[in-house]
């Protein structure tokens, strides 16, 4: 139950860890001294009939031993926690860096929550493992050995009892530990199942109300809780037996030690002082290993958490040197982007998301991508952003291959407008300045004006200082789009990648976005995943994709006349209404 990888991490703090264990061992020694002084005091007072005055010296020593024991306990706890904190900090830093190397493609979807909980709770759960379990492993061997070293010369019979019973404890622990682990996991599952059911009911409370079934759920909650209680208690009744056996072993060992000592005292083969000394040490002998037993859970949880953490750290990243070897290879002077037989396959996927794409985009060209879901449009975007690396084939910027090591620097050439832009927690100004951290307020407002965002931002309670993101003010989809557009104006890069919003925006946002995009596209190289006829009609070239392959390309009218997939796509939806025939599609009626 020791994670080797964790030990590699501990190497950096091994001095602290050694200190922790050393202090624990010192604690063991102080315990022995305390027992020794105590047994001497009682022996002299009891059999030697010594008055208190003659015992003062011993009493002082005893107090010193007690104080030392407390101090050692304090410091070893502090050091142990420091070990844990340092390892946790370093692991968490590594994880965060790794997340940014893995990028959004790996983290998309449901993984977000799971990954975040690994970085936060997963690492937190290592604390008990590192601060208690690992030092305790060392101590549960070292402290009993030390005690044994002092007991052997005094009382070899007890030493034999110790030696015989000690290995039984870890043996039992392992033997029943697995079973206990299974049981406790089962209990944990039961509890989380109950919680999940309760959450399910709470979340569905309005649905229940709509069909006037919500009061009835009270009985259901009670009934399910009771059922689970009964079945769980049945298993626990058995599971607790293992703990009973372990407890019996240690208490009975102490009892046996006491009885054997007593018999030898009567026989006169042992003196009282030694006897009391050994008796005092008996519980201390078993204490470390019993503590280890109580940390067993923490140990298991820690190893499980560590597995998950290292799993994440081990996810292959195509090239890590990218982060330090960040070369500024791209001046704004590039002329072409070329896809050369580019193929991309997702790991679990049967078919490639993109296969053998050949494509050349010249500077200043405006290109639209159209095609059904799964055609490979987003894959092209992600490859060009350097968020994914082609499984096969190569993307070149002029003659320079787009490798992970230059991706970060290449991205400075790109403005990317996703379909659902994310506003980070912070003020609107913070979010705008993401694109240009040092820009002046005037420039920022200018960009917001161009994007049609200035008016509604000014009307917000704190203007540009209004908090957005989680717990911030709620913005409509169209407003978020306009803020993202303002960011794009601020960045002012030569290449624009746009995934047009499909969501139904209000007519006002539609109008603003339409105009802003017209502005933004001027003199830029543009690649758009298009959803609007008006956008397509402004493009120099339209690429028609299907199932990862480019099946056609050309201008709007050209493609229509070929009556291929493009024609089919447009006619299926709006065909009967005939609008697709217009060279300049119906202009949007601007609200006054």
């Amino acid at each position: 139950m020791i994670s080797k990888r964790i030990f590699a991490q501990i190497r950096e703090v091994r001095l602290l860890l050694a200190l922790t264990v050393g202090l624990g061992l010192a604690g063991g020694l102080v315990t022995i001294f305390e027992a020794s002084f105590l047994s001497r005091i009682v022996n002299r007072a009891f059999l030697g009939h010594a008055p208190l005055s003659r015992l003062i010296g011993l009493f002082v020593w005893l107090l010193v031993a007690i104080a030392l024991r407390a101090l050692v306990g304090w410091f070893s706890e502090v050091f142990a926690l420091r070990v844990a904190l340092k390892v946790k900090e370093s692991l968490r830093d590594q994880l965060i860096r790794r997340l940014f190397q893995l990028g959004p493609i790996y983290l998309r979807g449901e993984r977000t929550g799971e990954v975040a909980s690994t970085v936060i709770e997963g690492i937190e759960s290592l604390e008990v493992y590192l601060a208690r379990y690992i030092p305790q492993i060392a101590l549960s061997a070292l402290v009993p050995l030390t005690i044994l070293a002092f007991v052997i010369p005094n009382d070899w019979v007890t030493a034999i009892i110790f030696v015989v019973t000690w290995p039984l404890i870890p043996y039992f622990m392992m033997l029943i530990g697995r079973q206990a682990e299974k049981q406790s996991k089962k209990q944990f599952r039961t509890l989380s199942h109950l919680s999940a059911h309760f959450l399910d009911v709470l979340q569905g409370i309005s649905t229940l109300k709509l069909f006037h079934r919500s009061r009835y759920q009270l009985q259901v909650i009670r009934r399910i809780s009771n059922q689970y209680r009964k079945t769980t208690m049945d298993t626990l009744r058995v599971a607790f037996l293992s703990a009973l056996a372990l407890e019996l072993l240690t208490t009975l060992s102490t009892a046996i030690v006491a009885v054997f000592i007593g018999l030898r005292l009567i026989a006169g083969t042992m003196n009282f002082q030694d006897a009391f000394f050994v008796l005092l040490l008996a519980p201390e002998f078993y204490l470390p290993i019993r503590l280890l037993g109580t940390q067993f859970h923490a140990g298991m949880n820690g190893v499980m958490a560590a597995d998950r953490i290292f799993e994440l750290l081990d996810v292959p990243v195509q090239s890590i040197e990218g982060n330090h070897a960040e070369r500024e290879v791209f001046e704004t002077e590039w002329e072409t982007i070329q896809f050369d037989h580019v193929t991309y396959s997702y790991r679990e996927a049967e078919y490639p998301a993109l296969s053998e794409l050949d494509l050349k985009i010249h500077r200043g060209e405006k290109v639209a991508l159209v095609g059904p879901t799964g055609a490979g449009k987003s894959t092209i975007m992600n490859l060009l952003l350097g968020l994914m690396t082609a499984t096969d084939g190569i993307i070149r910027i002029d003659s320079q291959p787009l490798t992970p090591s230059i991706a970060a620097s290449w991205r400075k050439q790109i403005t990317y407008l996703p379909q659902h832009p994310h506003l980070l927690k912070g003020t609107i100004a913070d979010n705008l300045r993401l694109a240009s951290p040092e820009c002046s307020f005037e420039i920022m407002i200018e960009a917001a004006r161009k994007a049609g965002a200035h008016d509604f931002i000014s009307q917000l309670p704190y203007g540009y200082d209004t908090m957005v993101g989680e717990n911030g003010v709620g913005l409509s989809g169209g407003q978020i789009q306009r803020i993202a557009l303002a960011r794009a104006f601020l960045k002012d890069s030569p290449l624009i990648l746009l995934d047009e919003p499909t969501a139904n925006l209000d007519p006002e946002s539609e109008m603003w976005i339409e105009q802003a995009l017209r502005d933004l596209f001027k003199e830029k190289t543009v690649l758009v995943i298009a959803h609007r006829l008006s956008t397509i009609s402004r493009m120099d070239r339209i690429l028609v994709l299907n199932e990862g392959k480019m099946i056609d390309q050309g201008h709007h009218t050209e493609l229509l006349s070929r009556k291929g997939l493009y024609h089919k796509m447009l006619t299926t939806y709006v065909g009967e209404r005939g609008n697709y025939r217009d060279q300049n599609p119906v202009p949007i009626h601007h609200p006054s």
Binding site: F59, E77, R82, G113, L218, A275, F276, V370
Partner: protein
């Protein structure tokens, strides 16, 4: 609040007494084991003439050795059982209080995970007994026993030991609290900020990378973490101090009792044998107060959780439950007259003075951009909210004075984001009509175009849908919600944006299928997509809480107003993602 907390425990007095008693006996057995073993060896040291004189302590030592393990077993058993019972009580109590408030009053808690945090609050409170009440009760009772035991020798010994136990059991946790409270609050705050920042950065990673801000974000996160670790380091010192002080007082009590007891031996008031018993008792009795610092921490947490929950349920229901019933009437007309509504008195109204009528048997659509107030009408008709002014009459009875049950017997709703329970497809549907025969369920699904995909599920109608129905796609979930509303077989059916997860062709098919099935009933179809609305008897166009236009599809296209604008925008969209090729 404390009374409320105890209310969950008091119904189980018998279990509580057993669990506490066994807990006390467990600690007492350990004291017994150590004290008798001390007594045993001290008596043996006096070399009695026969071993038989030691028979009692020998048996005693063995008895206590076995008893401790057995008592511990019993204690664990009873306290776990009790915890489950308490948990059930808390859940039932919380649900009972929350149910009348849902969903209107819950919307005040903006964030989506309020409910899951409520669930974990409930889970925290289950520990109230196991980790707070039990250790305190056990500590008090053990102190009484320890006093009794030591007073056999001299009452002063008992007094001093209990005093030290009290000082350590209450004083040390108080000291820790005093030293660490502020730090602890800061740590919680920094940690939650850190985790919010992290989640936000993961969700916004595309944007961060696209703007080349990754280094800055990594550094900011590292900085936050360093701050957290620094505070935690300080907290570690305080935590260590607690343990150290406990150890010190534990052994110090033994030290001081000996200091007092030795002169008593000299004076012949107690026997020398008793010294071992006194020392061992002093050492063993601390077991009872060791869990107290943690008990107080848990107490704090239980209080905090309790406060959260009380906060949530501290509200008046948003709707008055009327006492009128529609009775046998099966063809009610819905008349909305000058209706106005706002969610909060300090927020702008979302519905402003609207009027329309749905004669029985007509099908109407409500359309408009997001934020127009469409869904708020559904909220009112679901009797989730009361309206401010104007009237909503269902079959000539004001909705406000209609009983909730009667209203739901007349109106079925397929909500925008329907909730599916983590059970089978069939059970999810039966919610609307528990006694419906299977044919009827299947029929409702056929109308909602859901039967086809349900038949393809591994166990068809008996397939479990997973938490929140995650095994199904958004469109599939919506179709099941539509089937559920149809199965309810009510006079009026409302579909709130039922097709946002569907493609245009399926949407049109679905609308026509539902339209045919509900031919003799009333239907309100709410949508922002203008697909297939030619079949509607009337279309109501809303914007900014007002009704802008009314009419049939053809009429509205003629008018060149908002409907026409939305129509034009829609014509602009190619929807390649939705084309079946």
């Amino acid at each position: 609040m404390i009374r409320t907390l105890f209310r969950f425990i008091t119904p189980h007095k018998i279990e509580l007494s057993w669990a506490t008693l066994l807990g006390v006996l467990t600690v007492a057995s350990n004291i017994g084991l150590l004290a008798t073993s001390g007594y045993l060896i001290a008596s043996a040291a006096l070399r009695p003439s026969t071993v038989l004189l030691l028979w009692v302590p020998i048996v005693g030592v063995r008895f206590f050795g076995i008893a401790r393990a057995v008592f511990r077993y019993g204690e664990r058993y009873f306290s776990h059982d009790l915890t489950f019972r308490i948990l059930s009580n808390i859940r039932v109590w919380f649900y009972d209080r929350l149910e009348p408030l849902a969903p209107a009053r819950l919307n005040a808690f903006q964030s989506g995970d309020v409910l899951s945090s409520a669930v974990s609050d409930v889970d925290t409170m289950q520990d109230f007994y196991l980790r707070s009440v039990a250790p305190t009760l056990i500590a008090v009772l053990v102190m009484v026993i320890v006093y009794g035991l030591l007073s056999i020798f001299d009452y002063r010994l008992g007094l001093i030991q209990v005093l030290i136990l009290l000082v350590s059991g209450v004083g040390i946790p108080a000291l820790t609290y005093w030293l660490g409270n502020r730090l602890g609050t800061e740590i919680v705050k920094i940690r939650s900020e850190f985790s919010a920042d992290l989640v936000d950065s993961i969700q916004g990673m595309s944007d961060i990378l696209a703007f080349s801000q990754e280094q800055n974000v990594i550094e900011r996160l590292s900085g936050r973490q360093r701050m957290l670790v620094n505070k935690q380091m300080k907290m570690a010192s305080i935590g260590g101090l607690t343990g150290g002080l406990m150890t010190f007082f534990n052994h110090f009590s033994m030290w001081i009792l000996l200091l007092i007891a030795i002169p008593l031996v000299q004076m012949g008031k107690i026997s020398g044998v008793d010294l071992t018993v006194i020392a061992q008792t002093a050492l063993a009795s601390f077991e009872a107060i060791l869990p107290l610092p943690i008990a107080f921490q848990y107490l704090g947490r239980s209080f905090a959780s309790m406060r959260h929950l009380l906060n949530m349920i501290d509200a008046k229901p948003a709707v008055t439950n009327g006492d009128m019933h529609l009775g046998e009437q099966t063809s009610p007309e819905l008349v909305i007259n000058h209706l106005s509504f706002h969610y909060d008195s300090d927020r702008a109204p979302v519905i402003k003075d609207i009027s329309f009528t749905v004669p029985y048997g007509t099908h109407i659509a409500i359309v408009g951009p997001s934020g127009a107030g469409k869904s708020s009408i559904v909220q009112i008709l679901s009797k989730f909210y009361d309206y401010d002014s104007g009237s909503v009459r269902l079959g000539d009875i004001e909705l406000r004075s209609l009983s909730t049950e009667s209203a739901h017997q007349q109106i079925a709703v397929a909500p925008q984001s329907p909730h599916l329970f983590n059970t089978s497809v069939k059970e999810n549907l039966q919610l609307a009509n528990p006694d419906a025969p299977f044919e009827e369920i299947q029929n409702a699904c056929a109308v909602a175009l859901a039967d086809d995909f349900v038949q393809k599920l591994p166990e068809k109608y008996d397939t479990f849908v997973g938490e929140q129905g995650y095994k199904l796609s958004g469109g599939e979930r919506q179709r099941l919600a539509i089937a559920r509303a149809i199965l309810a077989n009510t006079a009026i059916s409302i579909f709130d944006e039922p097709t946002s997860g569907l493609d245009a062709l399926t949407e049109e098919q679905l609308l026509h299928s539902v339209h045919r099935a509900l031919e003799n009933k009333s239907m309100i179809w709410i949508t922002h997509r203008l697909t297939g609305l030619e079949v509607m008897d009337e279309i109501i166009v809303m914007n900014h809480g007002l009704i802008e236009e009314k009419g049939t599809h053809e009429e509205l296209l003629q008018q060149n107003g908002l409907y026409r604008q939305m129509w034009n925008i829609q014509q602009q969209m190619i929807r390649p993602s939705e084309i079946a090729i």
